[in-house]
Symmetry: C2
Subunit: 366 residues, 2 copies
């Protein structure tokens, strides 16, 4: 028993998906980074560099100055979006990471697919369900692998939580609470002109940008997809006039297990997921932000165990998984079909909020 615990702790941050011997990799996957916003600069490029399975070779953005600044500092090839789409430097990369505003994912993924490149696309997959379907179809038709950037799925804390659920340690799951909030205007340099506030570019704000974390992480933890949703959205601050500033939604999973979720772009920072089962409670708090350490706790009867583990660089883990699976010729768990289930749920949240009643979710079989 004690030996098992020691082994459990030793293995907590182990990459359980890693099957390649590190020495077996002769060359990393070369990645073109499309979109050089804050996240790409501060997190994706460092993550790609840290990961042994990836290296960045090409960068592009509609902002020429950003391309120049990033390319010069890192010895990368900087190109315009037109040059990228034309395939002019396609020999310089094996895969494409798309981190542009949601409504522009499709055009870049279509270009990458046409070039026969593997794709890692940020979530949510696109600004609308229809465009997301087209994005997935483009990769399928071109037979290029598509992974979607659910960085929680390669985080050890989320994986260990999923393991505990799958092993029955929580017993039957009874319900889930999840919340994610931030003061977006404050935390992101007060940029009230940013694309997340433009419904054409984003497809929505609180539910689309933040809601996808409670939604997808709950799906991942339970190994199940919601069958019905009930959503509510609202906006008060003038900056959010065209989009949802706050949202709450209930995800109804099979067997009537409910996840109660709240998200806000204008509330005190919070980030928490709790799975309550008949046999234990599993808590991630903090849960969702790349810039905070993850907390991991298991509560059973009167005993609470907080696991204080070596925190990973979450984006390194994500890109390591991306590169590893490509090099090992293994599939991605968060693939296009997986991501479409989130898009259907988010679409349902907005439809439900508009209609004032729950909305049943179909699948994508046509």
């Amino acid at each position: 028993m004690e030996a098992d615990l020691a082994e459990y702790l030793d293995e907590f941050t182990r990459r359980d998906w890693e099957t390649l011997e590190p020495g077996a990799v002769t060359g990393p996957v070369r990645v073109a980074v499309v979109g050089l916003g804050w996240f790409a600069r501060e997190w994706a490029l460092p993550g790609i560099a840290r990961s042994a399975y990836t290296e960045a070779t090409v960068v592009t953005d509609i902002d020429e100055n950003a391309v120049e600044a990033v390319a010069a500092g890192r010895d990368l090839t900087g190109v315009t979006p037109e040059e990228f789409r034309s395939g002019a430097v396609a020999d310089a990369y094996d895969a494409v990471y798309v981190a542009t505003p949601n409504a522009t994912h499709l055009e870049y993924v279509e270009a990458a697919a046409a070039q026969g490149k593997a794709v890692l696309c940020e979530k949510p997959l696109e600004a609308t369900l229809d465009r997301a379907r087209r994005l997935v179809a483009a990769c399928r038709d071109a037979d290029v692998p598509l992974m979607v950037g659910y960085r929680m799925q390669t985080d050890p804390a989320a994986r260990r939580l999923r393991d505990l659920v799958a092993a029955g340690v929580a017993g039957d799951v009874v319900h889930v609470h999840a919340t994610m909030s931030q003061t977006m205007l404050g935390e992101l340099d007060g940029d009230a002109d940013q694309w997340r506030l433009d419904p054409e570019l984003s497809g929505g704000c609180a539910a689309m940008d933040l809601g996808v974390y409670p939604l997808n992480t709950t799906r991942f933890a339970l190994g199940a997809d919601p069958v019905r949703v009930s959503g509510r959205t609202r906006s008060e601050h003038e900056a959010f006039a065209g989009v949802d500033e706050h949202a709450t939604f209930r995800l109804e999973f099979p067997d009537d297990v409910d996840a109660l979720c709240s998200v806000s772009q204008n509330a005190q920072h919070a980030s928490r997921l709790e799975v309550t089962g008949t046999e234990a409670r599993l808590i991630l708090d903090p849960a969702f932000y790349e810039r905070e350490d993850r907390g991991f706790a298991v509560v059973r009867d009167g005993t609470r165990v907080d696991v204080d583990f070596d925190q990973v660089h979450q984006i390194e883990e994500e890109f390591a998984y991306f590169g590893h699976q490509l090099l090992a010729d293994e599939p991605f768990h968060p693939d296009g079909e997986h991501a479409l289930a989130d898009m259907r749920a988010l679409d349902g949240v907005y439809e439900s909020a508009e209609a004032g009643r729950p909305v049943a979710l179909g699948d994508d079989t046509e």
Copy 2:
């Protein structure tokens, strides 16, 4: 500033409702305890004894052995329910505390009102909204004061949380999460025959018995009442065949502030309330059980303050408030009208669960 903090901590558990000088009270309110179940024996009778403003004088229950055992051990007058209702020993008490199964509150409150006695009735007020209305009307018609046993409302942690919301420390409230669960069959001696499992006596199980805590404490914290609810209930274990074993509900407050609540009679013990505002998060965890210490935390930006205060005997506080307000001739905050708002909300939760859509809540003006 530092002096303010010291004063705040000193005053944390102060009875802000207490206006009488302790020496000014010549005799405590004499209480008849109706219903001698686990809670009355283990919590209410000790609470009444600890409170300087109350003393128990009479006890009754349909179980003659329980009456005999309790009365003998504490030098109380034990009577049968028939004797109690007849008023045979009415000279021995000033007030009546009703802690019987929900569906029998009405008959005892009607008897107390007919005797002109003040009433402290356990929550939920009755098994159905209609009977709860009759209960409130009986006290109103007889002009006897009615308090409802929301013990959280006299708990210092809940009061300080309410104070912070009222003072604007949390900013605008954005949303609330609340959860309360227990393994009822395990924690209550595995008594699968108990009245809470009988829908005729209880009016419901998870939402009625537990849901009233997240519901009422959120109302108390926000100083507002829900205008619409969306509820879901389910039962799996055979013991809960006639009632709700699990429930989730969304309370929609004015300005579209949502409280997301979950309760279960068959899940790991949990007890938590979190108010997320634009300026701070306020957390009670543990929150709701009389048998656990309350946790109290305020989180603002990167700073979290946990207030570790002298825990009170929650039921002593409740009865002290009851006795004090009667002796001071002051009204009760959790009065009959206040409790009817909970009954309307709970009725709405069950109606919503049945109908599969949200239900608007009216008020009781006819």
